[in-house]
Each structure stands twice: as C-alpha cells, then as structure tokens.
C-alpha cells in the first residue's frame, strides 16, 4: 500500500467532506473503522452525519452533503432520476430478517416465502412493530406489505415506533412483538433482547447499500472530488476486504458482504 504513511498523506484542495448516512450504518460501528482509513489515505477530513434515511437523501437533494451512504434503492433511484445524484456505486449488502418471540406464536418459522410469512403475521393478530420512519428498513417492510395485499396501517396489532432500529428492537422485545430488522443491528443488540430470528435467507430480503455522489451541477458548493475519492475508496479492493471481514471477530460472522464487483441486477434489484 503506497500511501499509508500519515506524514505522506496528500492534502486535497478542499479537504472537508460531508458524508450523510443512516444511523444503522453508524450504529454497526463499520464507519468507525472505515473513515479513519479513508482520512489517512486521502487526507480528507470527513464529517459523518448519521441521520434518518429520508433526511440523508434530503441532504443530498439540497446539497447539504457531498456524498451519501444509504440503503433505500427505490428512493435512491428517484434521486438519481431527478439529477441530484451524479454517480451511484454498489458497495455492499447484508440482509433483513424477521425477528420475534422465540415461541413464534404467529408460526412464521419454516414458511418458504416472505410474503406468506407476512400474511401469517397479519392474520395471527400478533403485534408487529413498524419503524414508520421512511428509513430503508421501513421502505422494505412497506413494499412487502404491498405484496401481501394487506393494509396494516391503523390496525390494532400494527404499531409504528417512529424510531431507529435499535430502539425499535427494544420496543419489540418489550412487547413480545415481531419486527423486520437488518441483521447487523440485530446482532449488535441481541444481548439485550428477548427476540430470535424467525425468518431469514431469501433473496427478497437483501439490504443493499450504495454510495451516491451529489451532483455538483446542481450544487456548486459540493465537494465532488472528495465525494468521488470516497466512492472510489469504498469500492476499492482493499476496502472491500475490510468490509467483508468486519464483525467476524465479534459475532463470528460478517455483518456486510462486499459487492463492488457486482451489479444491481446480480442482487435482484432492477
């Protein structure tokens, strides 16, 4: 590696870079590893702002961030189509799982298909906690309900927490309820929870992360060089290795799977 020596770090013309990302990425601890590496390598000073997915996208849309790391493919598409994002790179994925009380009163364990699992949840009347915050997770959940044909909103068994994943998991645990979560956050919180993974491992439940650079044509103040440097860093072979190994020591399994060499289509996204 040619430029790991900090004294030799290059100094970019505009070193300040604002990265808007979602709380779940920050809460997993991955960024605590990656950001220092990036700063050391490139000389940029990153201001990582962890907010809700919606807010992160909005920050991109209004030019208040230079680069985004998000996981809401549908909304990302809109952002790109409206010209607010310039480039979009596939970085990594993990997956969503359905968690709930270990005795699984709704009986979703062993169902073959996620839509069936959701149908069972709806018909069982067991409490389900939705994040209801327009986050990537929330959007995934909503899209699944659409596929079931059930409109859960306003139902007595359907609670909207309006909070981040960690808090929502705690809420679900306290209420002995089901919820949809990304695997990383669940693993990080597992010790405090009385919840088990009851449904997992289908392609429909992939949680895909992209890096998006904000379009400097729309917002001239945006640090596009920095954004590209970050995108390149995230998709570089070295970084991809780091991502693939993150979490192995603590959980015995990786929290994210590197995807820079793949395309959206490979992951079943259209």
């Amino acid at each position: 590696s040619p430029s790991t020596n900090p004294t030799a770090a290059p100094t970019p013309a505009n070193p300040n870079l604002i990265l808007a990302t979602t709380t779940s990425t920050q809460d997993s601890g991955l960024l605590d590893i990656l950001i220092p590496l990036f700063q050391e390598k490139t000389g940029y000073v990153v201001q990582t702002v962890a907010v809700g997915t919606g807010a992160a996208l909005k920050m991109g849309e209004e030019g208040n961030a230079d680069v985004l790391l998000v996981h809401a493919p549908a909304s990302e598409k809109t952002l790109m189509e409206n010209g607010f994002g310039k480039d979009r790179f596939l970085v990594m994925h993990n997956d969503f799982v359905i968690v709930g009380p270990a005795d699984d009163p709704a009986g979703i364990k062993g169902t073959a298909d996620v839509v069936e699992a959701f149908n069972k949840l709806a018909s069982s009347g067991q409490t389900f906690i939705s994040r209801g915050d327009d986050s990537g997770t929330d959007k995934m959940e909503k899209s699944l309900w659409v596929k079931t044909g059930v409109d859960p909103s306003g139902q007595a068994w359907y609670l909207e927490s309006g909070q981040g994943m960690g808090a929502t998991l705690t809420l679900a645990s306290e209420k002995s309820a089901y919820t949809l979560t990304d695997r990383a956050t669940f693993l990080a919180n597992q010790a405090n929870l009385q919840l088990s993974i009851l449904f997992e491992g289908v392609p429909a439940l992939l949680n895909v992360y992209h890096v998006i650079t904000v379009n400097p044509d729309k917002w001239p103040l945006v640090n596009y060089e920095g954004a590209m440097a970050f995108a390149n860093f995230m998709t570089s072979a070295e970084t991809q290795v780091v991502i693939g190994q993150f979490g192995m020591d603590k959980y015995g399994q990786p929290l994210f799977f590197p995807d820079a060499d793949k395309t959206d289509a490979d992951l079943g996204l259209n």
């Binding site: 907010v51 809700g52 997915t53 919606g54 807010a55 992160a56 996208l57 909005k58 920050m59 849309e61 209801g132 915050d133 327009d134 986050s135 609670l159 909207e160 927490s161 309006g162 909070q163 808090a167 705690t170 809420l171 645990s173 306290e174 209420k175 009385q194």
Partner: protein, 223 residues
C-alpha cells in the same frame, strides 16, 4: 400556507397536540406538587445536609433527558425491577420521565426565590399567628414573580424535552407520539417542511401558555 392547512386538517396532528399538552400539563403539575413543597423546605427548613441536598437539586436542573430516559427505561423494562408494572411505552412512563426532569428545576428555583425574601417577613407572619401553612402560603404569594418564572421554566423543560419521551414512550403512533418526538421523526424522514410546521405549532402553543403565565406574573409586579 398550504402546509398550515394540512397540519390543522390532519386529525393525527390534533391527537398528538392534545396528548402533548395533557402529558406536559400533568408532568408540570406533578413537578409543582413536588417542587414547591420541597423547595420551600430547602429554603426555610434547618436540617443537617440541607446545603448538600440543595446541590443535588441544583445539579438536577441539568439532568439530561436522554439520561433520564435511559435510567427510567432500565427500571421499567421487563428486565428491570419495576418491569411488572408494565409502564414502559405508555403515556404514564412519559409523565414519570418529565416529572423527573422538571421537578428539580421547580424545586431549585423555588428554593432560591424564597431564600431571596426578607427573613423578617416570616417572623412578622408568625407573629401574626400564622401557622406553618399560612406562613408558607403568604411567602409563596410574596415570591410569586419568581415562582411563576420557576413554573414557566419547569413547563418549558417538559414541553421541549424529547430524549426521555422517545426512550420511555417509544414514540408509538397514536399512543405515545408527542409533538417533539413527531418533530424528530419528521426530521429524520427528511420532511423538513412538515417538521418546521410542527415546530412552529409547538412554539405557538408554548408561547400562548407562557404568555398567559407571563400576563399573570406581570400583573403582580410591584411598581
């Protein structure tokens, strides 16, 4: 403009508003019921450790809502000692947390206000045959300007607080979502316009309430 219309025609906004006012009102009331007597005791009583206790109360004015939220959640979670009460994620839990936050404010400011009074006034009242309650009643009256300020500060700390309500209330839609937690949610969603509209609405409510209290307060100014 459109947004304002949207807000007021949205029944959910009204439900959240009413819940916010109910919970904050209750929290302030309980803080008052605790803080007024306790502050009075600290100001007028003579007992060992008074000054130390006063420090605790004053330090309590800086209780971070998130810390309060976390502590109370630890108590109320199923795994906690009071888990069997099943209070977590209920409006009651919010009221408890808000009381913990604002009671020290009311207590500390009450104590300071009463200590500021001329100590001979208390003698004069006792000399007129007032019993303890009557003495305290009149001293409250004499310190009413500062006590109303204490009330406003207490109410302010409760209506504006979000960390604790979020944590122990859970921000559950239709159940424990209040104005501040709704604002946080909308902000997180990137719905800045809606968040601002809710903020303005919350500020307006606070302003109306504190304007009423200020009006009461300022009628009592000595000139």
């Amino acid at each position: 403009m459109d947004l304002i219309k949207t807000i007021f025609s949205d029944p959910e906004v009204w439900q959240i508003t009413i819940l916010s006012l109910k919970l904050s009102g209750l929290g302030t009331l309980i803080s008052l019921l605790i803080g007024l007597p306790l502050g009075t005791l600290l100001a007028l009583g003579k007992f060992p450790g008074r000054s130390f206790f006063m420090s605790i109360v004053n330090a309590g004015m800086g209780l971070p809502p998130v810390v309060v939220g976390l502590m109370i959640a630890l108590l109320l979670w199923r795994s906690g000692p009071l888990g069997s009460l099943r209070l977590i994620y209920t409006p009651s839990a919010i009221v408890i947390a808000q009381t913990v936050i604002s009671a020290p404010v009311v207590t500390g400011l009450t104590a300071a206000a009463l200590q500021q009074l001329n100590p001979r006034l208390r003698m004069q009242l006792m000399g007129l045959g007032a019993n303890t309650i009557q003495v305290v009643g009149w001293l409250w009256w004499e310190a009413r300007l500062s006590l109303l300020a204490a009330l406003m500060a207490g109410f302010g700390s409760v209506i504006s607080e979000v960390g604790a309500s979020m944590m122990v209330g859970g921000n559950i839609r239709y159940q424990t979502r209040v104005l501040t937690t709704a604002i946080v949610l909308e902000t997180g969603k990137g719905q800045f316009d809606f968040a601002i509209a809710l903020s303005v609405w919350l500020l307006l409510l606070t302003f109306i309430i504190n304007m009423t209290l200020t009006w009461i307060q300022q009628r009592g100014v000595r000139s």
